[in-house]
């Protein structure tokens, strides 16, 4: 039986065109009507109006939330070691980070596509029919945005434009808008259970080293497609440091104390629909892989660096 109402997250691009160049985060979760007879719930006709946030002189909900975090932090520090959550992980073999059994679990994610730049691809995130997994799906288009014109000079370069779409975790905000880091500590391997469509998705973890020095640690995930579930294991040592989707020549090991976000990115340049179903994202400990450093030792590093010394 199909639900009459479905929680859906949409990427908001041209819906709210802004004059500033600010990054538009997708709209919050909305209840939308499900078409009758359409069990997969693809098309949606009407949506509830968007209520802009209240503009208060003092933002009281922020103080309430930060007081809760302060209480939790104090309890955690003065409790015995067994109950401290960041140390409890060392006794655990696995730790599930994200899973989608409730529709409320979608509020930890947000979407973005090349609509922000003026592109024409769209995406959505919703719970699937079996009400246990999340569906990230949409359409990727390589149509050029109107801003990026090609020059008429026949000798000039004509680079191809490829669209992108990704879903990223929202940062954890604790006390007065302080962004807290995710803890990758104690574990060795990222484990995913996904059901894709045969495309290449990039799993990325964002590392914030302060003072504007940000790195994305990426790894490609080649999905099988089809009805069977796929378990993917990516050790930390195989994640490649990159900046603006370009692999760096100088690879540095991941700082596990400063990881902020997870991201699933689609950037393969194939025009068409895409669909990715995620069951869970978890950490695991595997002693076959190293715990420190990465697998990318470059013997040409002294030559490739600027001074060559």
């Amino acid at each position: 039986m199909a639900n009459p109402l479905v929680w859906v997250l949409h990427s908001a691009g041209r819906r709210f065109p802004s004059l500033t160049a600010a990054r538009r985060i997708s709209t919050g979760l909305r209840l939308m009507q499900n078409d009758e007879g359409d069990e997969s719930g693809i098309t949606v006709k009407k949506e509830t109006p968007h209520k802009p946030p209240q503009r208060l002189a003092i933002h009281w909900p922020k103080f309430r939330q930060s007081w809760k975090h302060i209480q939790f932090d104090i309890k955690n520090r003065f409790s015995p070691m067994k109950k401290q959550q960041h140390l409890k992980r060392l006794t655990k073999e696995d730790h599930v980070v994200y899973y989608f059994r409730n529709p409320d679990d979608l509020r930890y994610w947000y979407l973005m596509t090349d609509e922000d730049i003026g592109g024409y691809s769209w995406s959505e995130l919703r719970q699937s029919k079996n009400e246990m997994t999340a569906l990230f799906r949409g359409y990727l288009s390589n149509r050029r945005p109107r801003d990026r014109l090609l020059s008429e000079d026949p000798l000039a370069e004509r680079p191809r434009f490829s669209g992108f779409a990704f879903m990223e975790t929202k940062p954890f905000i604790t006390v007065l808008d302080k962004v807290e880091f995710m803890s990758f500590i104690g574990f060795n391997v990222i484990k995913l259970r996904i059901r894709g469509d045969g495309r290449k998705y990039m799993l990325e973890a964002h590392c914030d080293l302060g003072l504007g020095y940000n790195l994305m640690y990426t790894a490609p995930v080649h999905t099988n497609g089809g009805p069977l579930w796929q378990e993917v294991k990516i050790p930390y040592c195989k994640l490649i440091a990159s900046k603006k989707s370009g692999l760096l020549s100088k690879q540095s090991p991941m700082d596990l104390h400063k990881m902020t976000n997870f991201r699933f990115l689609l950037n393969d340049g194939i025009e068409g629909p895409f669909q990715l179903e995620i069951d869970y994202i978890a950490f695991e400990r595997d002693y076959n892989f190293p715990f420190e450093d990465n697998d990318y030792y470059d013997p040409w590093l002294p030559i490739n660096s600027n001074s060559g010394g």
């Binding site: 990427s11 693809i42 006794t91 059994r101 799906r137 045969g198 010394g309």
Partner: protein, 494 residues
């Protein structure tokens, strides 16, 4: 007015010395010299007299029809070659190469069986002969050949790219080499280095496997401290490490030559992984199908079944129906594959009675029944419960309490792993066609019955489901028109 001969000689020498400084580089005009005498001006507004002359010479000596060349029917001109002169440059050398095929020098390329690839190498060799040691016009020639590589099916051969590196001027005093880490910044000819960088990015795009030869040639040409060698080192480093993430890598030229049935086979291998999969191709009764397919589509059914799925089918209860779920799309590289799935709905699982083994005796049962020790068959002491009376002298270790934290280890994944099995039943087989009518699937069932005899007893139902991949809208379905007068109200602005 005629000058005296001595003055003429002096003026000619003077102008020849100034020639490199007086190269007319206005806009994008460059002088290109061939065979000393003929000088072609390469600019947008040309009369093309000289090119027409060359084309006439080539058409006069046409090839016989007995030649084995397939490259005669080359594809039309690429849209990337916007300038007509670039295309005519290529065709000039292609026609010249067609004459020379079959000569004694072809022993170098005896292992190359594809005539298009032979043509490519011949063409480059001829240009090298004509250009000479100075290699005048090498940048234009390399750029045109890079755009036209797909016509010769040479994209995934690394030797084709290293051949293009021979088109750069070779030698010690060209001013191209950057061997010193500091002085490299003060050297010229950055255009050549950037062209080489483009070449190496093409190698990465097309998926050709880099070589030691590539590395050695770039360092000999461009030096250690140039962007081309930087790119060559990085591609040598990263290529193997990025390819290892892909289970089934394939080169671009091999992918192009695949027939639709091969694409379906590789797609099914990706969807249903397993080394022991049983791949079969069954015919379809076309009279019963309501569709007529185009030429490039699959007329028959290709199915795959692993032995694990076969055993699951053998255990299937014939009272429960089997479903064939409707067409769905999957990507194999850039192409799509339409597949059907044979599966059932899940049932409440019964406990495994076959795993109960017939146990004769255990330690606990023996001590309870006989009240003696398991090994020695001796009776225990009255008070202490031990075998020997003087055991009270030995130190005791209470192993009942768990000193190790094994009982406290938590595992999260095993609590969540099998939730989907309660909702989704097991898969028995997967097939691939381009037909959308259920009459085509009857051929699949007929073929599977030969290996799975229980299928004949079961009832198979075709369950049509709307798949997102086949019916996806290209535009956002919830998008609001900006020109709609109610836009601002709906968006919440006031």
């Amino acid at each position: 007015m005629q000058l005296p001969k001595a003055c003429e000689a002096v003026c000619c020498k003077f102008f020849r010395l100034l020639q490199p400084l007086c190269k007319p580089i206005v806009g994008n005009k460059v002088l290109v010299q061939h065979n000393g005498a003929q000088v072609f001006k390469r600019s947008i507004n040309t009369t093309q007299v000289t090119w027409q002359r060359l084309q006439k010479e080539s058409t006069e000596n046409e090839i016989d029809d007995e030649s084995e060349i397939v490259a005669k029917d080359l594809e039309p001109i690429d849209s990337s070659l916007d300038i007509e002169e670039d295309a005519s440059l290529l065709e000039h050398y292609i026609n010249k190469a067609k004459h020379d095929l079959g000569s004694f020098e072809d022993i170098e390329y005896m292992d190359v069986f594809d005539p298009n690839k032979k043509l490519y190498y011949k063409m480059v060799d001829l240009w090298l002969k004509e250009a000479g040691e100075t290699r005048r016009g090498h940048r234009e020639f390399i750029v045109t050949v890079m755009h036209a590589m797909s016509r010769f099916n040479v994209e995934s051969d690394i030797s084709a790219y290293t051949k293009l590196l021979d088109c750069f001027p070779q030698g010690e005093h060209t001013g191209l080499k950057r061997d010193h880490w500091f002085l490299a910044a003060f050297k010229d000819k950055i255009a050549d280095h950037l062209l080489g960088d483009k070449l190496i990015r093409l190698i990465a795009e097309n998926g050709a496997i880099p070589n030691e030869e590539l590395h050695n040639k770039t360092t000999d040409l461009f030096g250690k401290f140039s962007p081309t060698t930087f790119a060559a080192r990085s591609i040598l480093f990263w290529y193997g490490r990025l390819v290892s993430f892909n289970k089934y890598p394939m080169s671009v030229s091999d992918f192009k030559q695949l027939s639709p049935i091969e694409v379906a086979f590789y797609g099914l291998r990706q969807i249903n992984p397993g080394l022991d999969g049983n791949y079969q191709c069954f015919p379809v009764d076309k009279t019963k199908c309501t569709e007529i397919l185009d030429a490039g589509k699959i007329d028959s059914i290709i199915s795959v079944q692993t032995p694990e799925q076969q055993t699951l089918l053998a255990k299937h209860d014939p009272m429960v129906p089997i479903f064939i779920e409707g067409p769905n799309l999957c990507y194999f590289r850039e192409k799509t594959v339409q597949y059907y799935v044979m599966r059932t709905d899940p049932r409440n699982k019964e406990p495994d009675t076959a795993s109960k083994s017939h146990i004769l005796a255990t330690k606990d049962w023996w001590t309870d029944f006989y009240k003696t020790d398991w090994k020695t068959d001796k009776k225990f002491q009255k008070d202490s419960g031990k075998l020997y009376s003087s055991e009270w002298l030995f130190p005791t270790i209470h192993c009942d309490k768990n000193l190790s934290s094994k009982s406290e280890i938590e595992r999260d994944i095993c609590q969540i792993e099998k939730d989907t099995e309660a909702v989704e039943g097991p898969v028995y087989a997967i097939a691939c066609t381009d037909y959308n009518s259920p009459a085509a699937l009857q051929g699949w069932i007929k073929g599977l019955v030969q290996t799975n005899k229980k299928l004949a007893l079961c009832s198979v139902v075709f369950r049509e489901e709307k798949s997102f991949m086949l019916n996806a809208p290209t535009t956002d379905p919830t998008e609001i028109d900006i020109h709609d007068p109610n836009f601002l109200e709906d968006a919440g602005f006031q």
